[in-house]
Subunit: 334 residues, 2 copies
């Protein structure tokens, strides 16, 4: 067997079939995928959530994860942020000619483990190979399909004045982990990506409250950006408190050293929930019982004004406007 | 506005939002997409078909189409080949830093026109930007969702001995069109890609026959490869006749000149149908009435033996084994 990916692995012909049948189908084996027709076919009925994301993270291996795990959990989380239970995922690979077969196997195994952990099935896929220099190692697209229970109505446009904001844990871990790996930086304590599947946490939250109005995971653009999205979509003001935002000392130190504002650094296993005030404590307590929510905190609230804006009360008492990320802090973070 | 794509257009922050809200949502505007939540949400019930494909064609503009049109029709056709009516598509862009904004607009418009022509809605999307040299201009993933009517049971594993094979038109047009554009070749008559949506044709075929057993579009790897796939999946022998396979004179001449076997050259708007013998004429006549099927032909049949193989009776009388594509004829053809 070839030790690296050849152009012919993307030809659609014999080598493509060998790669698919030997390396790409067996790890994910299930009756829907195994049919190998042009589409996956299954019965599914109700209110569906459908999402897509392409992953171009560099480097593809980083502390706490790799591009494969990210591709599964990232898409699972996009479904979870609409209150959907994820069911089916597609995986589409764009591979650079010369990519080591051993690394592909590691990443495929990582996709397999993440899909098992998240209880989703990989049901369809695609593999393209581009000539050397036309892509950087490996890009992965995963699209996902989930089902939303009746009664659940979560949207970025549902925040109401009076609602409280809960953050499920510390910020900045993913961005700093990837960046430190990329730049070869060593911090005294290792910082790992928080890459994690959040749909079970969301299910538990929905068990204790029917008044979760918005959910969003602060990935690219960080916490500041998604708060701005919510403020704009719901046409409300969002007020947050700096000292209620959980952050680890190593991430804080790394951000200070590098001149990054942690509000703009990417996360992969955190969520922000906007919840009616009467349910906030119950939801917070439920989040704290989940392994991905032990550091959860109520960190802000929704007001009428200033519409479409985010205001942060700083630790020393002053308040400042928190804008959406402008420019680019860390390219290819996810 | 920037004249080229900047890294910050993929940051998730302000420039990403500007690009999405000004350039990527308005052309596809529909109530599901416009919500801009992490997933598209809609009601859909029944037997679903779900498929994904990444498009890496080079060059991105070619006679008869571009990467945008290809991304819509290719995914629509993967749904149609399972007998599904396509409903919803996702579009995920991986753009190289420096890509001209004008070209992006042309391709987005091409996606819009193709989606309208195919009567599908773009309901969710994603945009990533990678640094210069880390991708070649633009890659597009599109995933699709369709609905299969009850009673339709089409699969590559359903071919039965006695079934006839119908090809909906001439072969090799797409591959030769892309290749000639890539290499700057000029043929006396211009050869255009056959890139086209085939789901309406499939619907019309299903109106006249409940005995369409397999459908497949001979894209990467060409006609020879998909016939081998069908022979293997159904564990049957497939016998075809060389002089029944439609091909235009310019494509035949280009293949002779370049040393290509047209059986292995990619198509984008053709299908092979495996149909029970008693329904073959009715299906053929129906295909010929569709604009994408005027040159349709019955070109072969299914036999018990040789299992998993494809045999072609040549124009001069001898027969030869037709293998799956080995190696790579034309990289990045789709």
């Amino acid at each position: 067997m070839a030790k690296t990916i050849l152009l012919a692995h993307g030809s659609g012909g014999k080598l493509s079939h060998d790669l698919i049948e030997n390396n790409l189908v067996p790890p994910f084996s299930n009756p829907i995928l195994n049919k190998l027709d042009d589409s996956a076919i299954f019965e599914l009925s109700g209110r569906l959530a459908f999402t897509t994301d392409s992953y171009v993270v560099s480097p593809i291996f980083f502390p706490g994860g790799d591009i494969g795990r990210l591709a599964v959990y990232g898409t699972v989380n996009d479904l979870a942020m609409c209150g959907a239970t994820p069911f089916y995922l597609s995986i589409s690979l764009i591979i650079e000619e010369g990519f080591p077969m051993e690394e592909l196997k590691i990443i495929v195994n990582s996709i397999k483990e993440a899909a098992e952990r998240a209880k989703v099935k990989i049901v369809t896929g695609d593999t393209k190979v581009v000539n050397r220099g036309s892509a950087d190692k490996l890009f992965i697209n995963s699209s996902g399909l989930g089902l939303i229970s009746s009664g659940v109505n979560i949207s970025g446009s549902n925040a109401h004045p009076g609602d409280k904001l809960i953050l499920s844990g510390t910020i900045g871990d993913h961005g700093i982990a990837v960046m430190s790996q990329r730049e070869g930086l060593k911090f005294s304590s290792s910082i790992e990506s928080d890459c994690a599947p959040l749909h079970e946490l969301v299910t538990e939250m929905l068990e204790v409250s029917q008044k979760i109005h918005c959910l969003r995971d602060p990935t690219r653009g960080g916490l500041a950006t998604i708060l701005n999205e919510l403020a704009k979509q719901s046409n409300v003001g969002i007020w947050i408190e700096e000292d209620k935002i959980p952050i680890t000392n190593p991430v804080r130190a790394a951000c200070e050293l590098l001149g990054f504002d942690p509000l703009y650094v990417a996360n992969e296993g955190k969520l922000v929930a906007v919840v009616a005030p009467e349910d906030t404590e119950a939801v917070l307590n439920k989040i704290k019982q989940n392994q991905f929510g032990v550091n959860a905190s109520i960190f802000g609230e929704v007001r009428e004004e200033p519409k479409g804006k985010v205001i942060m009360k700083m630790t020393l008492g002053a308040s400042r406007l928190v804008d959406m990320l402008t420019g680019e802090l860390l390219p290819r973070i996810c």
